[in-house]
């Protein structure tokens, strides 16, 4: 599983609150990815990183920001959570074949 952990695994939060999800990898991979998974949409890329402090937007980046201050950690932040961001969030690394973390189930009420 490429040594990927995610925290928290479950979170319930209220609309308008900030939320940060953490992805941690132990394999020193350069690439890291954040996806969201929703029924009928499959996996959609939110943001990805190709190195420390190097990030770029994916398909559904609006409302999300990321940071990567060290190789092993890739943070996803919802600045002001909305109900449409209720989803399961997966972190993945490396590339081209990806291995996924266990996921974070986020509910925004």
């Amino acid at each position: 599983d490429a040594g990927i952990t995610q925290s928290p695994r479950h979170k319930v939060t209220e609309t308008g609150t900030p939320v940060t999800l953490r992805c941690h990898q132990t394999e020193n991979h350069r690439y890291m990815y954040w996806y969201r998974q929703d029924p009928g949409h499959g996996l959609r890329l939110i943001h990805y990183s190709y190195g420390v402090k190097d990030t770029d937007k994916g398909e559904v980046s609006d409302g999300y920001s990321v940071s990567r201050s060290k190789t092993e950690d890739f943070l996803l932040t919802l600045e002001s959570a909305t109900s449409s961001q209720t989803s399961v969030y997966f972190c993945a690394t490396p590339a081209p074949e990806q291995y996924f973390g266990p996921g974070t189930r986020l509910t925004v009420t």
Partner: protein, 114 residues
């Protein structure tokens, strides 16, 4: 733009039936191809991959896939499914050398009747 199409959204089979899940992609250049499986309540796991060479790729748990370049297809097959194959299956494509550009299909939900 690069895209991946999985034709079947939901497939129901009986145990021991043969399986073929379709995957087509649109991209004009050289690609890397993947199939992932997601068992209920779990994360995605790599089932098999194709980078180059023999277009018939064998993966874990008896699955295989064939890359047909002329048809832009990478269909997943298994000769005899088991109840434990109940899961969602995702096809994914990335242009060779473009590690930031992996695109997933919307998935096919497979239900095996015991």
């Amino acid at each position: 733009a690069q895209s991946v199409s999985q034709h079947n959204h939901h497939v129901i089979l009986s145990e021991a039936a043969s399986l073929e899940l379709g995957c087509n992609y649109s991209y004009g250049g050289t690609v890397n191809l993947f199939w992932y499986v997601q068992y209920p309540g779990q994360h995605l796991q790599l089932l098999l991959k194709y980078f180059s060479g023999d277009p018939l790729v064998k993966g874990i748990k008896g699955f295989e896939a064939e890359f047909i370049k002329s048809k832009f297809s990478f269909n997943l097959r298994k000769p005899s499914v088991q109840w434990s194959d109940t899961a969602e299956y995702f096809c994914a494509v990335s242009p060779s050398g473009r590690d930031d550009k992996i695109i997933f299909g919307k998935g096919t939900r497979l239900h095996i009747l015991p």
